[in-house]
């Protein structure tokens, strides 16, 4: 039994953290349409917010594009993973803390599109599902936990770690749920399929979430110390006045 588990682990661990993205063709057409329809209102809301931001402050267009480029570069960099595998951050935690969930809902889609076009990770028909998990569920949980911790007056580093780590885990849980709904197990249905997908992805995703949480703490602390107009930048992007 132990031998079998080791063989299974040895086979699974080399896979990269990009496995979070549902690949092209992996979801049935009905589910692809469903997740796109579910995500669309948030995307439209995000676009409207961004349009209002750039009408008032045209100079922020460059900053938004750079924010998307930064999130993409972040997701393409390798993390030192605990399991020894080559893994990549999702950028969900840092993105949500830097730019807020509304802006992230649009930037996340841009990042996902570039990951499809430049790295062949993800897909066009699965964009709605991937966007829902990575550009909406993850950032909303990250931002919510960060705000909750701030209300509870938790230590800043602990708040950032919890927000980034749990946001990442939320992304992976939602992805597992999306896959389970689309491909239920023949005997145990959606619940059994969810357990299968969640446990098989957790081998790589839990260590990644922990490392990403630690790195997000480091990055945020360096940024708060070193960027002079930090609060101003954060306010411009996170709290657009409608």
């Amino acid at each position: 039994m132990r031998k079998k588990l080791f063989v299974l682990l040895a086979f699974l661990l080399p896979f990269q953290g990009f496995s979070m993205h549902i690949m092209e063709g992996y979801l049935p057409a009905g589910w692809s349409v469903f997740w796109t329809v579910v995500y669309l209102p948030f995307f439209v809301w995000g676009v409207k917010v961004i349009q209002k931001i750039v009408i008032k402050h045209p100079e922020l267009k460059m900053l938004l594009a750079l924010a998307a480029a930064f999130a993409f570069v972040l997701s393409a960099l390798k993390l030192p993973s605990v399991t020894g595998s080559s893994s990549h951050p999702t950028g969900v935690g840092l993105g949500a803390l830097l730019f807020g969930p509304i802006v992230m809902s649009v930037l996340g889609v841009l990042v996902l599109i570039f990951q499809v076009l430049l790295l062949a990770h993800g897909g066009i028909t699965t964009l709605g599902a991937n966007a829902f998990s990575m550009a909406l569920a993850g950032p909303v949980v990250t931002f919510g936990i960060y705000k909750l911790c701030a209300k509870l007056k938790c230590n800043r580093s602990v708040s950032i770690f919890l927000a980034a780590c749990l946001g990442d885990l939320t992304t992976y849980t939602v992805t597992a749920l999306q896959l389970a709904l689309a491909h239920p197990d023949t005997h145990t249905g959606v619940a059994g399929a969810f357990v299968k997908f969640a446990s098989i992805f957790s081998l790589t995703q839990i260590p990644i979430a922990v490392v990403e949480g630690l790195i997000t703490v480091l990055v945020m602390n360096i940024l708060i110390k070193n960027v002079p107009d930090w609060e101003g930048i954060k306010l411009n992007l996170q709290a657009p006045k409608l």
Partner: protein, 263 residues
């Protein structure tokens, strides 16, 4: 680093315009997604692979290209192939763990294989779009699909900045490695943190400088793109649509693929 830089098509496929390429991609993708036949998926994978091989991509590069999405597809397929409550009599093999009978049943294996090849066919169709369209062509497709200007502007700007940030990230990463920044695990985490923050700070500087450069050239909040005035050619569009419909017809209403499977 980028797929379109690593795998370059040396010759254009059928000399299609941007929107025609997108229509061909949609035809191939729909054939892959709407068909439930393994042989149809194998046919599509072979067809697109032959297209790549005859247009400048060698076999090793093609195999690398196919292997790129394998991480997710293999993991997902394993999850589908295995059952947590397998019937030991109908399983190819199974083992008991924590009160669960984890096993590989024939039905699960067939489902996983079907999904694997379906996803591979869809990914190959996507690869066709990625390798045959440049960024300006994709922007042009976006314009013709009436995607809002703000999104297209952000798309083009983001692409430009990605190249700049990648160059900078690469330089910092080499500098860190040369100073043994990745020698130990704890050191690696610190180095990655420093790398991310320096890239972010650099992003802010880039943003300020490019705004100054644009304003000094008369920027007032809107970008103008060169528009490609290529009208859709009816003959090309019709032949692509007929090809797609024919494939789906053969898949649904004839037993051609079943005959192939018997052979």
């Amino acid at each position: 680093m980028f797929i379109s830089e690593q795998y370059i098509l040396r010759k254009p496929i059928f000399g299609l315009y941007s929107m025609e390429k997108f229509i061909l991609f949609m035809v191939l993708l729909n054939c892959a997604l709407l068909s439930g036949n393994l042989y149809m998926h194998l046919f599509l994978i072979s067809l697109i692979s032959i297209g790549f091989l005859t247009h400048g991509i060698d076999l090793i590069k093609l195999l690398r290209l196919i292997a790129l999405p394998s991480g997710f597809i293999v993991l997902g397929s394993i999850s589908i192939a295995f059952s947590l409550h397998a019937d030991p009599e109908n399983s190819l093999f199974c083992f008991d763990s924590m009160g669960l009978c984890i096993g590989l049943e024939t039905a699960g294996l067939h489902k996983a294989l079907d999904l694997f090849f379906k996803a591979m066919a869809a990914v190959m169709a996507l690869n066709y779009l990625i390798l045959s369209c440049s960024l300006s062509e994709l922007n042009d497709i976006g314009r013709k699909l009436k995607i809002p200007l703000i999104l297209r502007e952000l798309f083009v700007l983001t692409y430009r900045y990605i190249s700049l940030l990648f160059t900078f990230t690469g330089q910092v990463h080499i500098a860190q490695r040369n100073r043994l920044g990745y020698a130990r695990r704890k050191q690696s985490i610190l180095s990655v943190g420093m790398l991310f923050s320096s890239v972010f700070i650099k992003s802010l500087l880039f943003s300020n400088r490019s705004l100054e450069a644009l304003q000094s050239r008369g920027y007032h909040g809107e970008f103008y793109f060169r528009q490609q005035k290529e009208a859709l050619r009816l003959k090309q569009v019709l032949s692509m649509l007929v090809f797609g419909i024919l494939l789906l017809f053969l898949d649904n209403y004839s037993n051609l693929f079943d005959l192939i499977s018997h052979i």
